[in-house]
Symmetry: C2
Amino acid sequence: MNDGLKILQDHLALKVDIKQIDFQKFSNYTVTKHFNKGEYFLRQGQAARYLAFLFKGVMCSYAIDNKGEKHVIQIAVEGHWISDLFSFLTREPANYYIEAMESTEVLLLSQENFDRACVEFPVFERYFRLLIQSAFINLQRRITHIYKDSAKDRYLRLIAEKPEIVHSVPQHYLASFLGIKPQSLSRIRSEIARSGR
Amino acid sequence: MNDGLKILQDHLALKVDIKQIDFQKFSNYTVTKHFNKGEYFLRQGQAARYLAFLFKGVMCSYAIDNKGEKHVIQIAVEGHWISDLFSFLTREPANYYIEAMESTEVLLLSQENFDRACVEFPVFERYFRLLIQSAFINLQRRITHIYKDSAKDRYLRLIAEKPEIVHSVPQHYLASFLGIKPQSLSRIRSEIARSGR
DNA sequence: CTGCTTAATTAACATAAGTGAATGCGCGGC
DNA sequence: GCCGCGCATTCACTTATGTTAATTAAGCAG
């Protein structure tokens, strides 16, 4: 069993009881893939045929609107799943790009295998439900923070929670994730540097 | 079968194939409840013991922060589920209040019955996974809109999508949901009235 | 290593939303 | 039906972030 599967198994074990034998079978549904920095796992307009479980590296998902503005909506690090769920589920064209921010390793799970796994291993469907629930709860929290915290606070929180991304994700991606312009993030950073946090 | 169950059955049927007989059994897990305007389905600090399926009326969920500020995170109308998912799943104290904005009818599903339903009717667990997925996708969209649209645009979109709430939800709740102050919403509304949308 | 392209920083100015305060209206309780 | 309190509105002023633009720094291809 490779590294990625070990890490995935640990993540599954955090949420559900999965039998070794089931995980063994399930693991046959996944394939390992590598992305170099700057490579795309998904492009806006394509159908998202895979879910990716990230076990090394960092990926960002973002939309580009009709003014050419980038809107980063997720920064995924080790142990996160990433895809365009809407597209993955409906087979409609994706709304998001998903780009590797550094050399990145993932396990891929195709739509077909995802569906199979849900049917064959109820415990997997449960895992996935719990996973989405957590993701949903986190998004609700994120909205609350957007509303009640200043951009400076959100930046400080972000780098406290995911310190590893500071060195791998360009600042204008972070700014976009925070919902501000790169110039504003620059201003915030210089203010932090000057007067302390 | 009462009105609420009919509406719920229709909603289930939109996402999954559920046999009449299974729905019949499942429906025994729910109870109907009425809330008057201003009554609480849940309070911050309590454990959320139920999911509510709203088949008539309007409810809002919101957190109150340590400055006493209200942060509305969901406005639920007919056909929506509402609860504090985090609390419902973990049995930790809830982060949100959930208040009826007008006379409201719901079906309640307790934690125990929810768990039972997931085990007994895999199709229910599937329905619920799909439901949360949609909710997740909608939240992602909401964040994108917060970032790229002005408060005025978000207000116009809100009343276009849920026109019924304009008359039942007080303006300062709508403002909070949009992430702005009541005074700002007032300003925006008067601007719309003056110069057209 | 060099040079080109893109990213980050800084600054001056513009704008949207927040703040605090005064006014008046309306709904609910009696 | 009347009263009072909370809600909505308006206004003057403040503040955070956006915008535009110029400058410097950093990454990458050749």
